[in-house]
Amino acid sequence: MSDLTYTIIFYLFAAITVFSAAFVVFSRNIIYSAFSLLFTFFGAAALYVFLSADFIAVTQVVVYVGGILVLLLFGVMFTNKVMGNRLMTDVQNLLPGIIILVAVAVGLIYVFVVQADWYTAGMLQGSVVERIGVETMSRYVLPFEMASILLLLALVGAAFLARFDKVHNNER
């Protein structure tokens, strides 16, 4: 495929990511926001593919779409009609929001334009899977193990919170 085709596909996915992310924020219906997040995650995964990071792209789909988005949808669906009235997003704290938005945007654009050192290496050749595996198990083994211990703690905590409570059950 020609460079023009790649450019068109890139802008297509970039547009999908940006517009769906905007829909997440501006939609008044919280369910639609959650479903729109699906396209944001997929657009981001497609952009990872353009960075030769196909493993990260698939992981993005597995973790964010398969895990986090489903959890989010469960949460939204079960709480949507709890109070009797539909849960809607609302505009609050307009002035502080705008101030934070402008400050963050200006700061980011300043860093991008003035200080960013753009990394312009060519496309990676070959499979990245082996390299990711070797690096994870050698140079980055400590952060990897720390992350796994953190996740284990979260699992133990969740199991403790959801545990069958014998004393409490007897009182009822």
Partner: protein, 367 residues
Amino acid sequence: MMLSNYFPIPMSMSLNSWSDALSQWYLFGLPLGLVVIAAIPLVFIALYALTYGVYGERKISAFMQDRLGPMEVGKWGILQTLADILKLLQKEDIVNTNADKFLFVVGPGILFVGSFMAFAVLPFGPAFIGADLNVGLFYAIGIVALEVVGILAAGWGSNNKWALYGAIRSVAQIVSYEIPAAIAILCGAMMAGTLSMQQFNILQQGEYGFLHFFLFQNPIAWLPFIIYFIASLAETNRAPFDIPEAESELVAGYFTEYSGMKFAVIFLAEYGSMFMVSAIISVVFLGGWNSPLPNIGSFALNDWTTGPVWGAAWIILKGFFFIFLQMWLRWTLPRLRVDQLMYVCWKVLTPFAFVAFVLTAVWEIYM
């Protein structure tokens, strides 16, 4: 102009030659070959769901229960599915007044796209694959996530308690069973040392046929093989794990409110993912498009039954065999309860998957 300019498909044995040639095929400057590559799995799903999927399942279930099954339309009822499709096409497209219109319409679409996207990495024989990704297997089991979102959209959009309960049960089941399934597949990936679907097939090639398949290379491989088969039943909502559509409790689960073509699309997605899990299990453990027949002396059965067309036939046959197993189990075993379902997943399959994982690692290091 030569005819070969229009049909640039060489009849050679080299890997991915047909799909590579197709992807280079431009008509009027448009990459039409890419569209054809994407259309082939779509046509395949439609044809197989029409013939083997619906008609075959009805006939197999009938024979297992000592009935005749569809007999009215055509000889032995062969045209029954066509009649059903005509009926579905003519049906009124009903959208409930109180349904969430957008999600109700979009749900089956997301569901089908999710089931169809996995076919991008499915090797239809040595010469044809949609995209030979180096993370192909990971992609194939990861893209199921999209189906989950489609099921939730369909179940929520219907605005029906049965549909919502069916969707939530289905999603909880798919998300839970992804864990033993993924660990079992990881055992296969450890044996192969790759995640590329075509590499899996090449590693299981050889003159002794089935003896080169990973299932027969390693005695431990039977454990992840069985674990993945059980988990794949749950992931495709097949019996005995079909509690999301338990008709005695939930009418029909997340597609209670659907009729006409939307119902047909949901069924097509289900048959698509049924074939996909069967193809994954045959690629990882049973050699994919490799011939299971060994060379015996001067009877070079393996060499005779190897080639692009034979390869496509073998992988489709292996897929159909596992679908037959799924149907067999569906008409043999009763449905599990929700708590039994979660017990099987978390307290039986997951620990055994971990055991298989460790044993496979030990075997791969020391054997």
